[in-house]
């Protein structure tokens, strides 16, 4: 057995790995939120519902069109992303000039409607979604059993996060996007279609949520309420990381997963609030978040 300072480190190590797995979901979800907030200034409360929609679409693809996990991993984000584009064009785009609060209320309303419709159609018990054949099984690590699928979630989410960060921070597309949020009129003058850029960005943020949904489907049951459970924590992640900071939300996502994991081990009753306690501390000491730039 492993030991640190005489303590048996096995359980602690196991809990940190579990924390990282949850952190992977937090990171992926908060990434989409951060992209949307950072570039569009919209507090997208519908994010949880769209994450749920990703899982539901994957379930429908499997059960009605016999399309398995791998095609769904691509198709569900595309379908839900397209839905996001429609939402942005028909409703959200009308609110860019108004206070943040309007966008928040609108997207919150959208979330309630989407969840209500899903509940009406699929019930509330949840629907099972099997782990894909190629990712079944588990590895014995000595101190715990690591399901292959969860390992895949961590790796895939990490790759997705780095890619998004790279595109936004290191490519000319990302530079244009960031410029468009700084000064839309100027960028438009250079011949860039800014409204379309903004629409596609929203679509991409939504697609990230849906991707997280597909990855979550085999782990948690596909359930119309799955988004509202996680969205508040994910918002806390974004706030702690610094509203709109891409790198901040990735690191905070994984970090909070770890913190929550330890709390579940040491004091399970506190696992629901530990994230928010940290949020309060961060807001009091660094109002712009850990990685945000003070304005």
């Amino acid at each position: 057995m492993l030991s640190i300072l005489g303590y048996n480190a096995g359980p602690l190590l196991a809990q940190s790995i579990l924390g990282l797995i949850n952190g992977a979901f937090y990171a992926l979800l908060s990434l989409g939120l951060a992209v949307i907030f950072g570039l569009l200034n919209i507090i997208n409360f519908a994010h949880g519902a769209l994450y749920m929609l990703g899982a539901v679409v994957a379930w429908v693809l499997l059960n009605h069109l016999s399309l398995g996990y791998w095609p769904s991993l691509l198709l569900a984000p595309l379908i839900v992303g397209a839905f996001g584009v429609i939402l942005e064009r028909t409703m959200i785009s009308k609110l860019y000039k108004l206070d943040h609060l309007y966008g928040l209320l609108l997207t919150f309303g959208i979330a309630l409607i989407v969840e209500g419709l899903a509940r009406n159609e699929f019930g509330s018990s949840g629907m099972s979604y099997a782990v894909p054949e190629s990712l079944r099984g588990a590895t014995k690590l000595g101190f715990m059993i690591m399901p292959t699928y969860r390992l895949w979630v961590v790796v895939a989410s990490f790759v997705m996060c780095i890619t998004t960060w790279f595109v936004l921070e290191k490519t000319s597309l990302g530079a244009t996007l960031r410029a468009a949020t700084e000064n839309a009129a100027l960028v438009q003058a250079f011949g860039v279609n800014v409204p379309r850029l903004v629409t596609l960005t929203y679509g991409a943020g939504v697609a990230l949520a849906a991707l997280a949904g597909v990855m979550a489907a085999p782990v948690y049951s596909v359930n119309p309420g799955m988004g509202s459970n996680v969205i508040i924590v994910v918002f806390a992640v974004v706030v702690i990381g610094g509203m709109g900071s891409i790198l901040g939300s990735i690191l905070t996502g994984f970090g909070l997963g770890l913190l929550e994991g330890f709390t579940k081990f040491l004091y399970p009753q506190g696992s629901g609030v530990v994230v928010f306690v940290l949020m309060v501390i961060v807001l009091l000491t660094r109002p712009a978040g850990l990685f945000g730039k003070a304005t």
Partner: protein, 407 residues
């Protein structure tokens, strides 16, 4: 559009006819039943609209025997919030003339609504909530508890598991009234049978979706049995994840409905043991009942809550027949006293009685979930392992602490 004289006359005549029917209907007193449960949240499938449908079914079947009254059934959503539930209960009793509130799952809401019923001496028949306090500390002469409670679940599932050699336990518990009570009741059966409880992880409800951390703690405790003191989606997720992490403990899902088994799928759920007081494929009567309501709720077959709504309504109507609608409308305890004075008999639960403290006494069934190869079709999920007779299934009368029961 031109209105012809004939059409106008016809409409007037029709209107007159409608008014008369209403007037005639109004001459008979109306008994009003309010079905109150979670219509849109996590417990929607275990109760929800199907509870309303089964209540209506009982009213329809009994319609020809109603003695000088008619019955109206209304439906409301308490959103699993005690304040919403209690508020709606007050409005129903005070303003809308509701005579009986039925179902009310979620123990915290149930206790709030029971408080209102007790204060106003109005009838409340609880089907959906687990808390055994409804016939104990929170009992009232106008309250009946039907179908199941934490004591009965703990005794049937807990007792049988210890007997089968599962003598050391670890609990994963939803940290609110229901989960805590279920853990407490199960613990007392485990320790009474010389078993040991090695630990527990009480988790925040309802915000937890990942149970892997608690499962690992359970594994680390060295206990033989994992007791799940939670319900609905939480139970489903716990079991799924236990399988994923290759947990080599016996799982005792302390509260689980056939709807949850359906959500898990037999692949994952096979071999689990759980307790219900009703299963659609138990006997002639249960099958006949299920066939009658199935067309109205095809995707959600009845569980013990739905069956309870049907059976309790039927029994209440028999009681009202006995005392007459005037006495029934006068006070809730009149109805409940009459319900206690006659034996129950229906397709779902067979013959039974309602005890002085308001507990409806039926046998409880310990079921094992079938293997996929054993299941012959849709919703064919259970085989019966053990039956606890009515007299032994429920908490002894003198142990509940109900104030009007003399020890």
């Amino acid at each position: 559009m031109e209105l012809s004289r004939r059409a106008l006359l016809g409409t007037t005549a029709a209107l007159a006819a409608t008014t008369t029917t209403t007037a005639r209907a109004q001459s008979k007193p109306v008994i009003k039943i309010g079905v109150l449960n979670d219509a849109s949240g996590p417990y929607r499938d275990t109760g929800g609209k199907s509870s309303f449908i089964c209540t209506q079914q009982a009213v329809e079947e009994f319609a020809s025997q109603m003695n000088g009254y008619t019955v109206e059934v209304i439906y409301g959503d308490h959103q699993n919030k005690p304040d919403v539930g209690a508020g709606l209960a007050r409005q129903w009793y005070d303003r809308d003339g509701v005579d009986m509130i039925l179902d009310v799952p979620t123990s915290s809401v149930a206790l709030a609504v029971a408080g209102v019923a007790k204060e106003k001496n109005k009838c409340h028949i609880n089907i959906g909530a687990a808390t055994a306090d409804l016939t104990g500390k929170a009992c009232a002469p106008s309250i009946v508890h039907w179908s199941y409670d934490t004591y009965m679940l703990a005794k049937s599932t807990g007792g049988a598991t210890v007997k089968a050699g599962g003598d050391s336990w670890f609990f994963i518990t939803a940290d609110y009234a229901f989960g805590q009570q279920l853990q407490r009741d199960t613990t007392s059966f485990v320790t009474a049978a010389k078993g040991k409880v090695l630990g527990a992880a009480p988790y925040p409800f309802p915000s937890t979706t990942d149970f892997s951390s608690f499962l690992l703690q359970a594994q680390g405790s060295g206990a033989k049995v994992l007791g799940l003191c939670n319900a609905g989606g939480d139970t489903v997720n716990s079991i799924k994840q236990a399988k994923e992490f290759g947990l080599d403990m016996k799982i005792a899902a302390m509260l689980m409905f056939i709807t949850d088994v359906n959500a898990l799928g037999l692949d994952v759920a096979q071999g689990l043991r759980l307790t219900e007081s009703f299963y659609w494929d138990l006997n002639e009567g249960t099958r006949a009942f299920t066939n009658r309501v199935k067309p109205k709720t095809p995707d959600n077959w009845p569980n013990m809550i739905h069956a309870g709504c049907y059976a309790a309504t039927l029994h209440m109507l028999k009681a009202i027949n006995k005392i007459g609608p005037a006495a029934a409308k006068a006070s809730g305890s009149n109805i409940v006293d009459a319900m206690k004075s006659i034996p129950t008999e229906d397709d779902c639960f067979g013959k039974g009685v309602i005890r002085e403290d308001g507990m409806a006494m039926f046998p409880s069934y310990l079921f094992e979930v079938k293997k996929p190869s054993e299941s012959k079709g849709k919703w064919d999920y259970y085989k019966t392992v053990n039956v606890t007779p009515a007299a032994e299934a429920w908490r002894p009368l003198n142990e509940g602490g109900c104030y009007f029961i003399k020890a």
